[in-house]
């Protein structure tokens, strides 16, 4: 299956624009793949007994997995010519094995600074249990 790649240019973007919703299931396999892919063998990410010892209900995705999903929500919309200048995120609730995560976003600001064409986004990562990780991104994009 080939995914269509979108290319968004800075001068086409308007404040208030919403990003397409991105949904991805998180079976146990993806949480284990996360530990392997990011070389993060902290046991909360692969051992349910340890996760429960931490007060969590199950093994959960690590920071790097959530960062990558946030970035994907942005670049699936803006395109591969995007340079992510800044990403800020608050992990308010964990994303567990068995969850489905959903990313939604909106253009908050469209501006130029120091010769750069920038866009600020707000992105929210949720699961079926509710909001988990609010994030803010600053993207640098080319003009058409």
């Amino acid at each position: 299956m080939t995914r269509t790649i979108a290319y968004k240019f800075w001068d086409e973007i308007t404040e208030g624009e919403t990003l397409p919703r991105v949904e991805m299931p998180v079976p146990f396999e993806r949480v284990i793949l996360d530990a392997a892919a990011t070389q993060d063998y902290f046991p909360g990410h692969h051992n349910p007994a340890y996760a429960q010892h931490q007060g969590q209900k199950n093994i959960y995705l690590n920071t790097m997995a959530i960062e990558g999903f946030i970035d994907r929500v942005a670049t699936d919309w803006a395109g591969p010519h995007t340079f992510i200048r800044k990403r800020t995120m608050n992990m308010r609730a964990s994303i567990y094995a068995g969850d489905t995560m959903v990313g939604e976003g909106k253009v908050e600001k469209h501006y130029e600074q120091d010769g750069r064409k920038l866009v600020d986004l707000s992105i929210l990562i949720s699961t079926q249990s509710g909001p988990c990780v609010p994030a803010q991104l600053t993207l640098e994009l080319p003009c058409k």
Binding site: T38, Q54, E67, D71, P80
Partner: protein, 194 residues
């Protein structure tokens, strides 16, 4: 019988006062274990189902950036310690894991990263970090402990700044008695939502 688990890796134990002594002590710059490589990039992008050709398509990436680049979300991975090495003890790369405190576990709470340039295949990352702040003891939905704020600067082998990260982590233990609900703040600072 409860399922057993191994201790994650040695954390430093001590008091809040011990932790405060580490504030603003700048650590040594450390070289990452892994050079930036396409195989690890592909595994990470497969996990994210990220089709961005900057990570997959050499022709596109070369035209756009000068070569395949590393996804920003892999920044911390290059410095992760191997599980075992014939000549080295396993050592934590980041100072947050070395702060002496009572809690027997930890969880990341918030992170903010400014990116200055891409990492390319073959690049070797190095980082220097320091502890900025340790909170007094706090009670949260997860347990009782301290919030640690750290800052890390990441460089490539040419000494060019790649990124600067500020991170907030909760080092805690789960008390035998549940923390009373009225002691849990809601909906303000990120750590209060744990």
């Amino acid at each position: 019988m409860a399922e057993e688990f191994n201790v994650p890796f040695p954390l430093e134990y001590g008091t809040y006062e011990d932790a405060l002594k580490m504030i603003e002590v700048r650590g040594e710059r450390k070289n990452a274990e892994f050079t930036v490589n396409w195989e690890m990039i592909k595994v990470y992008c497969a996990m994210e189902e990220d089709a961005n050709p900057s990570y997959w398509d050499k022709d596109y990436a070369t035209k756009q950036w000068g070569g395949i680049v590393a996804p920003p979300g892999l920044l911390l991975t290059w410095g992760m310690a191997l599980q075992w090495h014939p000549n080295k003890d396993r050592e934590h790369y980041f100072v947050a894991m070395k702060v002496p405190l009572p809690g027997d576990t930890l969880i990341n709470v918030a992170t903010s990263t400014e990116f200055h340039r891409h990492l390319f295949l073959g690049d070797r990352l190095s980082a220097v970090d320091r502890l900025i702040e340790v909170s007094k003891e706090k009670k949260t939905r997860l347990g009782v402990g301290h919030f640690l704020t750290t800052e890390a600067e990441f460089f490539n082998q040419k000494d060019e700044l790649i990124a600067v990260t500020t991170n907030n982590m909760f080092r805690y233990f789960v008390p035998e008695e549940k923390v009373p609900e009225e002691n849990i703040a809601q909906g303000k600072a990120p750590e209060e939502n744990l």
